[in-house]
């Protein structure tokens, strides 16, 4: 593998950040283009491994994949450059939007447009829920967890942090029970 300069890493992830529209998975084809096809810094299997790992870790998927691939290029320094490069564009754009949006948000036409946009977001979130439900709520155990968290969250307004920790504890408990049964 060629040694990549830190500045080069920053440039690559900056360009990726510029094009990172939509969900976190959009980063996969971009990484493939800039790290494999244009420069052959990595192999395609590496990227697929990073994706699998990123899905298993907390945090944003695009960000996790950048940490892994940046690390593969130049260890910790590479990972830091990758993350900074990735967030540069979103950071600047949101600062511009925040200062601009606050000024125009009283406008009645802007408000009506955003009223419709918010309803579109409901549609997007519902289809996301349906997708995750289909792909991951497919066993007795996962149905149980889904129902439990749903009921607990609906009637008690517990914070998501507590519910996530609770589901981890339940999984460990269930796993140990199964292990004992098999032993």
């Amino acid at each position: 593998m060629k040694k990549v300069s830190l500045w080069q890493i920053y440039k690559i992830y900056f360009i990726i950040g510029l094009q990172l529209l939509g969900g976190g998975y959009v980063i996969m084809p971009l990484l493939k283009k800039y790290l494999i096809e244009d420069n052959s810094y990595l192999k395609e299997e590496d990227l697929i491994d990073y994706l699998a790992l990123s899905q298993c870790l907390p945090g944003l998927i695009a960000l996790n994949i950048s940490v892994f691939s940046g690390y593969a290029l130049r260890k910790v320094k590479g990972a830091i450059m990758a993350v900074i490069g990735l967030v540069t564009t979103p950071f600047i754009i949101i600062l511009l939007v925040a200062s601009f949006l606050l000024k125009i948000s009283d406008n009645i036409y802007v408000q009506s447009a955003f009223f419709g946009i918010r309803l579109s977001i409901i549609v997007l979130i519902f289809s996301m829920v349906a997708d995750i439900f289909k792909s991951s709520v497919n066993s007795k155990f996962s149905r149980f967890v889904f129902l439990l968290i749903f009921i607990l969250g609906l009637f008690s307004f517990m914070s998501p942090t507590i519910l996530v920790i609770l589901s981890v504890l339940i999984s460990i408990f269930y796993y140990k029970m199964k292990e004992e049964k098999n032993a």
Binding site: A52, G59, V87, S120, I121, I125, M128, V129
Partner: protein, 187 residues
């Protein structure tokens, strides 16, 4: 002011560390913030989700930048963005060190079997909260029926149907929502 900085850091650190599954997984945490702080309203958050969909960058990072800026200026935005990134960053580095062990651990795999349905349930609350906000005008449970907004309900149905026709393209459905919202409010 120092307290605001610390709270921003704490909340976005938690959001980064506990949201599993990427993309919209940060939303339940962000919606929870609307209930305990006055940093932003549910309405502002939903608008930001839309903006994040049409600008580059993940919604979790965008929301951290936005909230940091509106509550504590440029320094606040740098701090919140850093907070949402640093937890997963360190965790990912640790995982690289234990790469092979981690991938084979059955227990870890099993934990994720429980985490995905949890993400799903948390996200469905977000959808329910949004419907209460925009279709029931943010009413409390006891006067839901009086606050029902038929216009919003009909528009929502139209958008659901349209989404299928637009081949599930998020940017197009947001554009359609903006145009239809504009047109609907003229009447």
């Amino acid at each position: 002011m120092l307290k605001t900085y610390l709270l921003l850091f704490y909340e976005f650190l938690k959001t980064g560390l506990f949201s599993v599954g990427g993309g919209y997984a940060t939303l339940p945490f962000l919606f929870h913030m609307t209930e305990i702080y006055d940093w932003f309203t549910k309405e502002e958050l939903t608008n930001m989700i839309a903006i994040s969909n049409i600008t580059p960058g993940p919604v979790g990072i965008n929301m951290a930048t936005y909230t940091g800026y509106t509550t504590a200026g440029i320094l606040g935005s740098v701090l919140s963005t850093f907070a949402v990134v640093i937890g997963p960053f360190i965790l990912a580095l640790i995982v690289i060190y234990f790469l092979n062990k981690f991938r084979e651990a059955k227990l870890v795999k099993f934990i994720f079997k429980g985490l995905r349905p949890t993400s799903c349930a948390l996200l469905s609350f977000v959808a329910i909260q949004l419907i209460i906000q925009d279709v029931f005008n943010d009413a409390k449970l006891n006067n839901l029926i009086q606050s029902f907004n038929l216009k919003a309900f009909l528009l929502l149905i139209v958008l659901f149907v349209l989404y299928k026709y637009l081949k599930s393209n998020p940017s197009l459905i947001i554009l359609a929502g903006a145009i239809l919202g504009f047109v609907f409010n003229l009447f």
